[in-house]
Subunit: 292 residues, 2 copies
């Protein structure tokens, strides 16, 4: 497949094209960062490529809506896709050197039959509602790492459990990639930026911002000495009263292992998934033990 140069940034559609460019950079001694995305780029993604630029002199953004991390009942078909406008946004940043937008056939050719499973941190939370999700994520991210062989890759704290799954994957398989976490970018009312926010109706959008507020309240309560389970019960009731249709989970976990905690001894994280109409939103916030 020839390199697609009809966009303002070169677009590699195949592993061969991707490697030709990236290996050229590496041979020249340049440090390469990869930002894996599913497209539908918003300011949050652009902050990830900014973080990539701070880590490396060459930035590759991959755009691939990965079918294996969607369940049959999920939004794979309607997930927003617009390669042209995604690339324009990246081009405006002025430093992204390559977009890697492989075809599904390039990623999963006939006969594909390998799966990676990360136990532990991948269990519970997101996996309760989406049991195949992290298997799909771990496998596609490992593939992207093998394909591009970047020095460093950037993942957002917005998908906090995913970030920990990727860290575990890289450590367990000794994949030679450094993982850098980037903070969550938020709208003025605190709503974490997400491609799925586009699904929200105007009234839903008004409610959505309170998710971050409640996460902050739970974090403050736990930091102040309240028991995690009590704080989460209060938080769940608050969310439902504020108009969220359902709370898939609202939990305080150890910030590194994601083990459930009963007392605040180590850094912890509040994590939540909620429903608003047909849309599922996730977010998280740090809980830091108070300095006495």
């Amino acid at each position: 497949m020839p390199l697609d140069t009809s966009f303002p940034i070169p677009v590699a559609r195949s592993v061969a094209d991707l490697r030709k460019i990236v290996f050229g950079w590496r041979r020249a001694g340049e440090r390469v960062a990869l930002v894996p995305t599913m497209g539908a780029l918003h300011a949050g993604h652009l902050s990830l490529s900014e973080a990539a630029r701070a880590q490396a002199n060459r930035v590759v953004v991959s755009i691939f809506v990965n079918p294996t991390q969607f369940a049959p009942n999920e939004d794979f078909e309607r997930y927003p896709r617009n390669l042209g406008s995604d690339i324009e946004k990246l081009a405006r940043q002025g430093f992204v050197g390559l977009v890697y937008a492989p075809t599904a056939a390039e990623m999963y050719p006939n006969g594909f039959s390998t799966a990676i499973r990360v136990a532990g941190v991948s269990e519970g939370l997101e996996s309760a509602a989406r049991p195949h999700f992290f298997g799909g994520v771990a496998t596609v991210v490992a593939k992207l790492f093998m394909q591009a062989q970047p020095d460093v890759a950037i993942f957002g704290e917005k998908d906090y459990q995913q970030l920990l799954v990727i860290r575990r994957l890289v450590r367990d398989l000794d994949i030679p990639v450094e993982i850098v976490a980037a903070p969550t970018l938020r709208e003025h009312d605190g709503l974490a930026m997400s491609s799925r926010n586009a699904y929200l109706t105007a009234p839903e959008r008004k409610i959505a911002g309170f998710l971050n507020t409640v996460l902050g309240e739970v974090a403050a309560a736990v930091a102040g000495g309240k028991s995690p389970s009590e704080a989460c019960n209060t938080g769940r009731a608050r969310l439902l009263k504020l108009g969220f249709a359902a709370v898939d989970y609202l939990e305080v976990r150890d910030a590194d292992s994601l083990d459930p905690i009963e007392m605040l001894n180590e850094p912890a994280r509040v994590l939540a998934a909620v429903r608003l109409g047909g849309t599922r939103l996730i977010d998280n916030a740090p809980v830091l033990p108070k300095a006495d």
Copy 2:
């Protein structure tokens, strides 16, 4: 961990030491081959490192008895281990540049929780008796590839299903390693060389050589037009009559996909696992469609 130089070949015990040496070679433009082994080296292994030497100017042999590919009832504890004599054998070859003999803690540190599963070619045959085997193999081989980052790796045709699992793993995850197959080395009576042959008593050893004979008979019968199932029935009866205690499987499969076949249209392979006393032996032979 310091590089162990008390042996006639340097021995890396950690990923860091391994990479220091291998990356130095690669920076100097040298091509690196890896030969993964579980030690207990015999002439068969030495033929793998010979094959490696033909592919690259630097040869690394890894020696690691991988606990995750043994079931609790298998021979992990009694599997033969002798690092000193293994290294002496490699040193006599004169060209092996590094032995990588990681500790179990280096390969599987606390909290390790990632597993790779290759479906398809890994199913049936060896998996019937050893359901966790190929999961353990795929995961440890992926780790060795990530750790050493060789240009090429050598696997013996003796473990034919394993060879196909590794080929599938590398293709599916886009691991940048070339896989080269090396033919099976045999004793004078045709017995495939294997570390497990050491378990055989003298009378068992005499019977063992007939496994290869019968595989050849089955392959010839199928090549001559006999149906695979009929040829295998005859072969199984022959093996039991010759003194093998049990036949775990004796099957003719497609040589690439390992799909069961009913007629010989594409290259095929006869594969078998048999028991002799407490020892399990495997072997395989090619079936080539006759040129008319």
